[in-house]
């Protein structure tokens, strides 16, 4: 029996976000380091909210990663390899409900 709140259960385990860490590049490390700082460090959280460009500029990110952050593009951040247990708290802090989070991750689904 599987119960769900709108999530989809037909995703292969290889796409859960736990595995892609094994092959990450340095910028993926930096992107996750930024998310982790915002999640757990009040000073970093305030800087991300009040001077986002300067704060993000301190991390060695690709243009795609910077754009995904600027747009708060949850689907893109997921595909860029932000671990699900970093991404969900990161979006909770940004005020994203569970419903909106799932909708963002499953466009059209």
């Amino acid at each position: 029996m599987c119960r769900e709140a709108g999530g989809r259960d037909n995703v292969s385990p290889a796409q859960t976000g736990y595995e892609n860490q094994n092959v990450k590049g340095m910028s993926q490390y930096q992107l996750q380091k930024l998310c982790r700082a915002v999640n757990s460090d009040p000073a970093a959280r305030e800087r991300f909210q009040t001077e986002q460009d300067a704060f993000v500029g301190e991390f060695d990110l690709t243009a795609a990663e910077r754009k995904a952050l600027a747009d708060m593009d949850i689907d893109a951040l997921y595909d860029l390899g932000v671990h699900p247990l970093l991404l969900r708290p990161f979006t909770i802090i940004a005020g994203v409900s569970q419903e909106d989070y799932l909708a963002a991750l499953n466009p059209g689904g």
Partner: protein, 272 residues
């Protein structure tokens, strides 16, 4: 002294942060269960509480990811999450017990990391809130990597738990043991919200019947299939190793869809 109390419990952040979303019958069952288990813990005479829990990127990151880390501080602050609706507080730590435990483990060739400064997140603060709230005891948090591959196998966790149980038995301290995490859930994944009731029922049944071989043989792939958060069940497997002669009794199991978690609460007692 052998462990005097043992329980396993989920630490679903929804149980404090999104209480209003859950059906009232499920909430009543869960909060009543917590109250009964908290009373049992208080009545056990435990002086300190060892908590097996899971890392959530609070103390560790890809710069350093220990398989097991024993907290050796005399206090811990938490929770780190401003949205958890648990008041940030200072939890006393039992640094002496942690040091004693570490010495005993290293003497046996079991070598976890240790830390004199850790913060607590929902993984420890939710069970502390419900099981120790108002009756606080000093804690020793032991944090497992259940986030990032590779992570310790269920068999490795069982053996680690065996070593912790043996080490605690040598201490003069009366210790309560809490394992926390799981059950099936997929937090933050595209599958967020999926609950694998079949996995949860079989897992609890194996704990109830001390089927340790089945617990040790659980595969990483099966846990991943039940949701990435299901890896946290490793803490419960370690608890089974720490009290191998005790059987689990399910106090409550509820698949709480708004909390996106198969919520389990199980108390362990010496097998009759």
């Amino acid at each position: 002294m052998p462990v005097v109390f043992a329980a396993g419990v989920s630490h679903a952040p929804g149980s404090t942060a999104w209480t209003e979303l859950a059906p009232s019958d499920q909430k009543d069952a869960i909060y009543d269960g917590y109250a009964r288990v908290a009373d049992d813990l208080a009545a056990s005479g435990a002086e300190s509480v060892v908590i097996f829990s899971s890392e959530h990127w609070t103390n560790f990151f890809f710069d350093h990811m220990p398989a097991f880390c024993v907290g050796r501080a005399d206090h811990y602050d938490g929770p780190v999450e401003p949205w958890l609706r648990v008041e940030r507080t200072r939890v006393p730590g039992d640094a002496a017990l942690a040091a004693e435990l570490l010495s005993a483990l290293y003497a046996e060739g079991v070598d976890p990391s240790y830390s004199d400064e850790m913060e607590l997140d929902h993984g420890t603060m939710v069970p502390i809130h419900f099981l120790l709230g108002g009756r606080m005891k000093p804690v020793v948090p032991i944090i497992f990597n259940t986030l990032s591959e590779p992570m310790p196998s269920p068999d490795s966790c069982f053996r680690f738990g065996e070593a912790v149980g043996a080490a605690l038995a040598k201490s003069a301290r009366k210790v309560a043991l809490i394992a926390t995490g799981g059950l099936s859930h997929a937090p933050g994944e595209r599958r967020h919200g999926v609950i694998d009731g079949d996995f949860d029922a079989e897992f609890l049944d194996n704990l109830a019947n001390r089927r340790h071989d089945a617990l040790r043989a659980l595969t990483h792939e099966r846990m991943t299939q039940a949701g990435g958060g299901t890896h946290e069940c490793r803490a419960w497997i370690a608890l089974a190793g720490a009290v191998p002669d005790w059987s689990g009794e399910t106090v409550v199991y509820e698949a709480v869809v708004p909390w996106a978690t198969g919520f389990g609460l199980m108390e362990f007692r010496p097998a009759a």
